[in-house]
Symmetry: C2
Subunit: 549 residues, 2 copies
């Protein structure tokens, strides 16, 4: 840039302010003061009230000695206080650490220690595990108990209850907006699919941009959205939806238990327009459809992620009056980074092809920057042929700051100037990506890559198969071969042999992709619902070794 366009044209407070989602709360309270921001059972908060409660929480935290850059953790279901913490904790200058409610006490204790949590907010539903975790952590923690009318009373973990804590907030302290948009706003621990939990650090800039991007792809700006909290707020801060809803003055409907009855009840009672969930949530909705369900005139928008929704699940969900959008992202990148944008031309392709295309991970969002599928070492993009496998890499403003206190893992994930997703995918001719495997879960058999996901997809088309996981086992001849671990639907248990399954696959897959071993047993998942294939691999290898000797 030559001098004339930079001379005497500096940044100043009038033309440059830190990007942050926190300002969206102030705007929502100003523009939509009387609109309902939060619904939980009989409870209602307008945006003015919600903002006031968030600010009170921030001031209470400051009053309790929380300083800029401290960690404040919360262990809670999707209740109003969890929504308040998404703004209230950062407004105190602290970093919000939303802990997975499905973890056990030792895992929570590890997170409290590693994050150096100064204060913990506990939903009384999780009082017991929180008490154990705090004890195990050995930390001198301040604990604030959140009492709720919809769960049984529990013995308090700390010495003060949430409402009393808010009530004692000083009124004369200033809220702490970020000094720089690169300041941390949130901390999210990911178990990943391998190794120890890592603390993913979010920045205000990324959180703000993803909030804006979310309003765009989810069309939250059409009318007043009513968003149902099926997606846990401890996953990527609810994919940034709490912040996105502030940008449009939308309504949050809290949900303690993500079960079909409660979801359908909320949809009917509050006119839900949007929600998010894993394919399992969609399947549950299909199975749990009320007898008197009437397909809504305007489809209810639902974003689906975590795994590719099977074609039949999309079709059945659509038939109920839901509009499904498949999205993909990762904890390390503020949540959603791609959406499977539905092209007009797909409508003419027939349902099979249309639904198959809708199951892909898709294209980058307007705020996600660049995305390539590439060789992770050379960074050379793969051909757009729907066949060549590479790693999904991102470069833009949604990448996390890095892993807390883990410079090595941070360097590794960003090596070569791209954020490495660890997911292997192909790029189709139309520029849409389709995930084929986790990079560490690919099976290399006779020098050929075998996508465990591709084999699982074939297994899922067998009517007897309820759950399926495919992993590599060592093989003298081929190096590795695929092994299928299967849980059958109850009526089928004991009616099928390993050979039946192998025959079934052989008819549908090339030989090198066909499982050589089949094991019938329950599939164990982590608290976040993830399959840890590195563990399953070891387990399966032992079984096979025993069988063969």
């Amino acid at each position: 840039m030559t001098s004339k366009f930079s001379q005497d044209l500096d940044q100043n407070p009038g033309n440059h302010q830190p990007l942050t989602p926190l300002g969206l709360l102030d705007r929502a309270a100003d523009v939509y003061p009387d609109r309902i921001a939060v619904i939980h059972g009989e409870r209602r908060h307008t945006w003015a009230e919600y903002a006031q409660r968030c600010r009170r929480l921030a001031r209470a935290l400051i009053g309790a000695g929380i300083r800029r850059g401290d960690t404040v953790a919360i262990l809670a279901a999707n209740i109003p206080e969890m929504l308040e913490a998404q703004f209230g904790v950062p407004l105190s200058g602290a970093v919000i650490n939303s802990i997975n409610i499905r973890l056990d006490a030792p895992a929570i204790a590890f997170i409290l220690q590693h994050s150096e949590t100064r204060l913990l907010l506990v939903d009384q539903q999780f009082a017991d595990v929180a008490r154990q975790a705090v004890k195990l952590s050995g930390l001198q923690l301040d604990v604030v108990d959140i009492r709720a009318a919809d769960v049984p009373d529990a013995e308090p973990v700390g010495v003060i209850e949430y409402e009393s804590f808010l009530a004692q907030a000083p009124t004369d302290v200033a809220l702490r907006y970020p000094e720089d948009e690169w300041d941390a706003i949130a901390l999210n621990y990911t178990s990943g699919t391998t190794g120890n939990p890592k603390g993913v650090v979010y920045h205000h800039r990324g959180a703000y941009l993803n909030a804006l991007g979310t309003t765009l792809y989810a069309r939250l700006n059409a009318g007043t959205p009513v968003y149902l909290w099926t997606l846990p707020l401890f996953h990527c801060n609810g994919w940034c939806y709490a912040w996105a809803l502030a940008a449009v003055g939308g309504t949050s409907v809290c949900l303690r238990k993500v079960v079909p009855d409660e979801i359908y009840a909320a949809i009917r009672q509050y006119g839900v327009t949007h929600f998010c969930g894993a394919p399992a949530v969609l399947s549950a909705l299909v199975m749990g459809k009320p007898k008197d369900w009437v397909r809504p005139e305007t489809p209810i928008w639902v974003a689906c992620a975590g795994a590719s929704p099977p074609v039949t699940v999309i079709a059945q969900t659509e038939a109920l009056g839901f509009e499904v959008l498949h999205v993909y992202g990762m904890t390390e990148a503020h949540g959603v980074n791609t959406t499977c944008v539905v092209q007009d031309a797909w409508a003419a392709m027939g349902d099979d092809e249309r639904l198959r295309r809708m199951g892909r991970q898709g294209v980058r969002t307007a705020v996600a920057g660049d995305m390539i599928v590439a060789d992770p070492s050379t960074l050379q993009p793969v051909a757009r042929d729907g066949k060549t496998i590479g790693e999904v890499l991102f470069r833009g403003n949604l990448g996390m700051k890095g892993y807390l206190k883990n410079a090595e893992a941070t360097r590794e994930v960003f090596h070569g100037g791209w954020m490495h997703s660890g997911d292997l995918a192909v790029m189709h001719e139309d520029g849409y990506i389709e995930i084929k495997d986790r990079s560490k879960d690919i099976i290399i058999s006779g020098g050929e890559n075998v996508s465990s996901i591709e084999v699982e997809e074939v297994l899922f088309t067998h009517p007897a198969v309820f759950q399926a996981a495919v992993v590599a086992v060592p093989d003298e001849k081929w190096g590795e071969v695929p092994c299928a671990v299967l849980e059958l639907h109850p009526p089928y248990v004991g009616t099928l042999t390993a050979d039946d399954i192998i025959q079934f696959c052989r008819a549908r897959l090339p030989g090198f992709k066909t499982p050589k071993h089949v094991i019938f047993e329950p599939i164990v998942r982590t608290a976040t619902g993830k399959l840890q294939k590195f563990k399953l691999r070891d387990h399966v290898a032992e079984i096979i070794a025993k069988r063969e000797h």
Copy 2:
């Protein structure tokens, strides 16, 4: 921020890239390659083609010796090449200077000189004025002529035609994305309402954020928007809509002549969903309604700015099937900064009250940061009483870098850490602002502030009044008094006296706001349609002085 959330958590290319609207073009070309991006008469470009033409323009400019930070100007109507320049010029590393086509040769020459323009793109409709301006400027300029099928041939100004220029673009040069989001992207000269033209410098960060903000408030993300270019692209780069449309893969319908017949024809032919314009455009649409106009099922969205749309104009426009949103902003802040968000509760208030509220300037957009109405010296916000007048001040990321080569004016407009709009407004109880005057146009009579706009609004309710302008004239007793300059509708000319008008106002306004003088004569506006009240004041003062002596 304590160390743990900043240590080893630095920015790197994987998590931090300059914000810029230029990446939105790449994404649109990837995601919507076959959608129509540009329509002009028989001409069509898909997003893939549009992107390719923009890139070719950028490479042609680089091939012609344009360097980072050079100025490339364009003098063109809203034709496809004007849209191409919005991306193509910045992709060459240059700053785009879109020149007002209504200016005369000396004014254009001034802009060419002041901006140090290196290359000028000229729509042949403006060949004559461009030729004169280049000559007057004394600059050795490269000129590229844009030939168009829809205007008469003109003698070329330069030595190469646009299509030949594109054809000679080198293929082996890299496009120049910004090195920093604070780099300049555009230059827009504003005549303002006082003094000399000033060069407003836009930054990539602000352009990107306003593009995202625009998709939100204009709901460009619902389906495929078809945007009609009634708003000149030389006003704030078309309020950033060319960039916003890339974020959603929308369609631009070009329009050389903004007249009702052409607007209605485009609406019918292309299914226009969105456009923008001054209240005069709305009035023209009401007057020029085709006899066989059928109110569309889905209202056509129209943003209106430049002056507050009168209640009757909003009502009539709505009745034709348009949804009107009043927006407000300024060249100095990347275009639109506030929108008059329509509240659900207004529907129950009756049309008079609802339409009156819709005519206010409203509330800040989601990307506009903070806005206050305050005493410009003390920066103390005024009461939310709808009465106390203060200046509209902004603080956020939409403020320009500043005025080119005018450090003093830049310092002045940003003094106290806020961007001073120069507009005087009140803040209503509901947080909506309403502009009352330009700060330099307020009339101070007997120590009381008189808003010239308020008096004009009363005058407009008189059936005979076609145009009205109220300015201060010196008065021995009161310091200043209001003087009304009026253009009457033809049938009324000669039927009314100054006293008739004064009586009419006295019945509707307090004495100190009632005009003491009335002059019947045509009202002169600038090329941008602005009324330069400082000139009118001098002119009126002379007339009054002559009358009184």
